[in-house]
């Protein structure tokens, strides 16, 4: 384990960081982004690495290029599948990197290696339903200029990328105002008729399935997107056999093979691992280890991960926020600053917060827990502050008049009187936390977000419900738990009708 942060230590306590594999096997962390092809390629790489003697972990469907890239730079991830165009235009957008040599040296400067081309290209493209495109007579992207009323639905990542919408719009002079969404949802938007134009990956199995016309990039805006593997240079020293095996995948996957594999997952409902293992067996004569988990085992694992995320973050948040709330109540000027800062934390978009913290805490549970702690602060701080400030003046004076020390007043009078409010704040945080923790899956923290994310990606409602239903149940259970806790924590005298 090379990351050694406080958060990791905390997680280590909580079953999450169980050690994996024997010491003699080099540990190899393979990562994938949150789309089907990335997962299949990562599973193939993982199978190859495992067969070459690696102790392999797959950090699956991380929430975007930046998340994976930061994790790779930090050493949380050793290898992941990427596309040359993404590296040139998105990751090295500011460095004018073009061509394989330039790319190799740019990666080498960051302690990374570019693997061989896998054998197919998966370019970005714009697509429309065949019947809509033919009705409007559209074949090329440049023709979209004349159709300002068309509704564009573009992947959130594509909207922001250096090689995505901003430069595409400029290159073609497109007038449309796109909406941002998840890639896997966009085909359904087309099918439902709520969208006219979406961005595609050219190897998407959905293109044929949904009868989509791919518009020609007539101004050659998009660069080549050759699929490659990128790994850390230090992997070559740690696991030379694994790296040699990864090189062996080069040139073995052509576009039709990739489209077929995508189709088996997205259209035939097979798991990425099963499809990858089929490929390994048939094309590379590699027997991949490790079968898929059953539904129950997955539920148990997700529940454990989710409870750990919520439990640890809530515990830390309470330990921080109650003293902060007390401080805020006792020192009004400082209190304004404390409430302001925790309020601002609340407004930071969760994915942004997660991505920003990856360089500090890595991918996985530690980052998710830190983010959840920050999000949990406000309700607890605010309610602690409000509960203490809301104590009736006669009671405050009575405590003073008894000659009690500030500490005794706080412990014996003020905190018990504020306890209903404090507990309500913790309850709010807990319930919000259960929901927010599902986002942990975007950075490999596991939990109920895992099946939700996969369910969205594969348009599999059953899978989605495997995450959504237990998450909702857990939120309800939290409510109930706090109802019971209220009886224990809030003094009986406060639950009686107030005097008069």
């Amino acid at each position: 384990m090379k990351r050694a942060s406080l958060a990791t230590a905390l997680v280590g306590l909580s079953l999450l960081g169980a050690s994996r594999g024997a010491a003699s096997q080099p540990r190899v962390v393979v990562a994938s982004k949150a789309f089907t092809e990335s997962l299949i390629l990562a599973e193939i790489a993982a199978g190859v690495a495992r067969a070459a003697g690696g102790d392999v972990v797959h950090e699956a469907q991380l929430g975007g290029t930046r998340v994976v890239w930061n994790a790779l730079l930090r050493g949380d991830v050793d290898v992941y599948p990427e596309y040359t165009g993404t590296l040139e235009r998105e990751i090295f957008a500011d460095d004018a990197v073009q061509g394989r040599d330039a790319l190799e040296s740019a990666l080498a400067a960051r302690g990374l290696r570019l693997g061989p081309r896998l054998g197919f290209e998966n370019t970005y493209a714009l697509g429309m339903k065949e019947e809509v495109a033919s009705r409007l007579g559209l074949r090329r992207i440049s023709q979209l200029r004349e159709q300002p009323a068309l509704r564009f639905g573009l992947t959130n990542e594509f909207l922001d990328r250096g090689d995505g919408w901003p430069s595409l719009r400029n290159a073609y002079g497109l007038p449309q105002q796109p909406v941002g969404l998840e890639h896997e949802v966009s085909y359904r938007g087309l099918e439902a008729g709520t969208l006219d134009v979406v961005d595609l990956y050219s190897t998407d199995a959905d293109i044929r399935y949904y009868r989509i016309r791919v518009l020609q990039d007539d101004l050659h805006h998009f660069p080549r997107y050759d699929a490659v593997l990128v790994w850390r240079a230090d992997l070559e020293a740690r696991a030379p056999a694994v790296v040699a095996a990864l090189r062996g995948i080069g040139g073995r996957i052509d576009a039709p093979a990739m489209i077929a594999m995508n189709a088996r997952v997205k259209l035939a409902g097979e798991t990425e691992r099963a499809v990858a293992q089929g490929f390994l067996r048939d094309q590379l004569a590699v027997e991949g280890g490790g079968g898929s988990d059953g539904v129950l085992a997955r539920l148990v694992r997700n529940t454990r991960d989710h409870l750990a995320l919520v439990g640890i973050s809530l515990g830390v948040a309470v330990a921080l926020a109650v003293p902060l709330g007390i401080l805020a109540a006792k020192r009004p000027r400082l209190g304004g600053a404390i409430l302001g800062v925790t309020g601002v934390l609340q407004t930071i978009p969760s994915l942004a917060l997660l991505v920003v913290m990856i360089p500090l805490f890595g991918i996985g549970a530690p980052t998710a827990i830190v983010a959840l702690v920050l999000y949990s602060l406000l309700p607890i701080v605010r309610n602690t502050h409000a509960g203490l400030r809301g104590i009736a003046e006669p009671l405050r004076e009575s405590a003073l008049a008894l000659g009690l020390s500030p500490r005794a007043r706080l412990v014996s009078v003020e905190l018990p009187l504020a306890s209903p409010s404090i507990l309500a704040g913790i309850k709010t945080s807990a319930v919000i936390n259960v929901g927010t923790a599902t986002l942990g899956a975007l950075i490999g923290a596991g939990g109920y977000g895992q099946p939700i994310l996969t369910g969205i990606r594969l348009d599999d409602v059953g899978l989605l419900l495997q995450g959504a239903v237990p998450a909702a149940a857990l939120a309800l259970a939290m409510q109930g738990l706090f109802g019971l806790l209220e009886r224990r924590v809030v003094p009986r005298g406060l639950r009686l009708a107030p005097p008069h």
Binding site: E397, A401, G403, S405, P416, P499
Partner: protein, 295 residues
Amino acid sequence: MARARSAPATDADDCTAGLLAAASLPPRGLRLGPRGRPLAWGMTDASKAALELEGVSKRFGAALAVRGVSLACQRGETVALLGGSGSGKSTVLRLCLGLLQPDAGTVTVAGERMAPERAPRLRRRMGYVIQDGGLFPHLTAEENVTLAARHFGQTPSWIAERVRELAIVVRLPEPLLARYPAELSGGERQRVALMRALALEPDALLLDEPFASLDPLVRAELQEEVRRIVRELGSAVLLVTHDVTEAAFLADRIVLLRDGAVLQEGTLKDFLQRPADPYVTRFLRAQRLSLGEAE
């Protein structure tokens, strides 16, 4: 030690069974603390006034709430601070407790000058009862009474005995001690508040309109009880009230405040016979009091 525990033999009305029981308890002046030392608040200088204000003024923003008030309250003496609302009488009480700091003048408690750093210690020599008792709703009656004693390290046996004595003194049936304030009547709550104020054997008792929110019968009963109790305990009492008859009934001396300043000091008779200001007469008349009735 000005702690006469026995009831005055002449006051036959007050010689109840409860008082006899209280009187039969051992004298408490030299009671020892948990570490064998005399309790600080039990060893006060009897030669000094329990409570003394000298030229005390207090300003809230632009308004002068208390203007140069001087008064002294000896052990065994009850002084009523009488006045209308806004006359500054409650503010005087808060100044005595050190809940407010005077802008001018000094407050002295048993010979020691009240100052912020001394306030917690000096407050333990005073018992404070406010209109609705100010009982902590999260604590039972008994926990309210014993809270301070527990914090100041009294032994459980001392505390238990003290609670039993106090319940007898204020005539609170012992089963009520287990109840929360919300489960008690207004009169019962004030009895508990008195117990709490008396728990640490204070030199002075500060009562801020303690009967104001009680219904008339309960009020009359509790006024009698308080008169009996303070006579029996012999502590100094400063009573804030707007009720002339209450002041006359309970107090040895009345201090009439107007706009934060002392207008007249004396007995009700003095007020009626030699009013220092037409306001004095108006204040008494407003409460249907004239010379003939007072006689």
